[in-house]
Point group: C2
Chain length 328, copies 2
């Protein structure tokens, strides 16, 4: 029997989950839940139902794992514990500072209901966290570096679009090549914010807007741009649509560490991602962890888990014997 | 209380384990076991005893995890199951084709004794296997590539030294940059053996040896060199000692995969290692898994495990709450 998947929230991430489920032959998307009128939402999977969130309880025994595709600011802190009372759940909660609190809330709900809740799944938090953790355990005497990009930052793109005179815009976060090279060379540099990432903006001006003033405003925006070397390019609306409508992202997790009786040897562990679509990759990770949630729940495990708590084999459709024979 | 570690076999790997234990404050090296006369073996850890293998049984209750540092050809297939009857064990068995059989033997022994046996720990098998597995689970529609190097191949260096006229030699395996770039570009190339790796040899000739003949013999050696582009450099014995006495290694695991309803997006996951000392890095991985063996045994788990079966958090000295707060 297939693992029956539900999707809560049908934005970019929800559509990514739908695509990822299609690639996994042991899974089936059975329903998509939305706060909108279901008749206004059409999904790609013909066999899946579109339901209003008010119908969630009716699906309690018809869905094995519910994947939450809402935002971390307001949706997930409320939804994940609520839905963990009815379903095994997986979310991509990514407000790093609030993870301990979110974990506790989901843990209490999932333990009470006898379900599994896996939180903060994706690439950061997610695969990047895993790689930081493995590398720290292997090389206790070392230093971690995380670089993001080249990729679109939604928050920074939104900030640009709020500037007076800006019609539309996209912002790319770009790691500084010289910093990456220094880290890879084992030099353990101390890097400032400015030395790690460049911010490149592509801006469409409103008619009659003052380009110099817009550029000045963007470059001096506190928190978002002031601490960075920022490049502002003005382009036409057509150019923005043609060349900057994707949502690529990626990044690098590097740990440099020493071993040997006198710490005479240096080792570099590097994990990197180059992603055409940030939400589709994130949802591909989530779907693999949905398989883990299903299996762990079938074993009678309950409560909140993160990527740190889940043995890798739970993610794979292959059996232990197959994994040992072909991938070990 | 510290995790009490024993080392079986004191070569490069055993010494690496000793150094790694020193970096982990929750561990203590209590004894090193050797087939030699213990009085002829001196270790770096003052508090550790050196014992003959005949004394192993006396240590049954004084060692929490025994780390096996013998070779995969003849030592480990016999030793790991034997010692799993007395101890929790970790080995770095790396004969990929014989892993299933080794797993079964260690599993039977460890289940009978109520111990944990973790096999095939290191970087390949080990961290490379983990990365292949995670990447396969995340991107089911894709292609894997593993490149090794730049690094010293012990087997190929030995092969060079068996050639008539060769006094000493070292062989480096080097990934072909163009192949790496094609894979990273998502081109999914089909690569022959020759297209993936170059073999570079540094050879010291016996006095009066025929250089042209030695080069010819090396380049045409079946299995080892005939299928590769091989570079042979003749150098002096002093130069070999000065510049080629390290045992660096490393490599790349790359998976390129497609997502999207019509597979329109490409993603590249890359994991790479650049290691000054192959045995010291391998043993650093092993020591982290020794912590996992200790904890899993304390929970009452038994039998044979691989890196696929072990939740990442077991490797870290930090608690679950600390990991969630700082590394997730």
């Amino acid at each position: 029997m297939s693992i029956r998947i539900g999707i809560m929230g049908y934005g970019n991430l929800g559509r990514g989950v739908e695509c990822a489920v299609k690639q996994n032959p042991d899974m089936e998307l059975v329903a998509v839940f939305t706060r909108r009128d279901p008749s206004t939402v059409s999904v790609l999977t013909e066999s899946a139902k579109v339901c209003n969130v008010s119908e969630l309880a009716d699906w309690k025994d018809k869905i094995d794992v519910m994947i939450l595709c809402g935002g971390s600011a307001t949706d997930l802190p409320k939804q994940t514990p609520e839905l963990a009372a009815m379903f095994n759940v997986v979310d991509s909660f990514d407000t790093h500072a609030r993870i301990p609190e979110h974990f506790d809330n989901v843990d209490a709900a999932a333990k009470a209901s006898g379900k599994i809740g896996i939180i903060s799944v994706g690439w950061d938090p997610g695969m990047f966290s895993l790689n930081r953790m493995y590398a720290n355990a292997i090389l206790p005497n070392g230093k971690d570096y995380t670089f993001w990009g080249k990729g679109v930052s939604q928050g920074h793109s939104d900030a640009i679009r709020r500037v007076e005179g800006v019609k539309d815009g996209k912002q790319y976060t770009i790691p500084v090549e010289a910093a990456l090279e220094s880290v890879r060379a084992g030099e353990n540099p101390e890097l400032t914010t400015r030395q790690k990432h460049i911010r490149e903006c592509f801006v469409v001006l409103e008619e009659g807007a003052d380009a110099a003033k817009v550029e000045e405003t963007i470059k001096n925006m506190p928190n978002y741009f002031a601490d960075y070397d920022t490049i502002v390019n003005f382009i036409s609306e057509e150019e923005l649509k043609a060349n900057h409508s994707g949502i690529p992202h990626g990044g690098f997790v590097i740990r440099s560490g020493k071993t040997g009786w006198n710490e005479e040897n240096t080792h570099i562990i590097e994990y990197s991602l180059k992603l055409d679509s940030n939400p589709e990759f994130t949802s591909s990770v989530i779907v693999a962890y949905a398989r883990a949630a299903y299996r762990m729940a079938n074993e009678g495990q309950t409560g909140c888990k993160t990527v740190f708590d889940i043995a890798p084999a739970y993610l794979s459709v292959a059996s232990g014997a197959e994994l040992r024979a072909h991938l070990l």
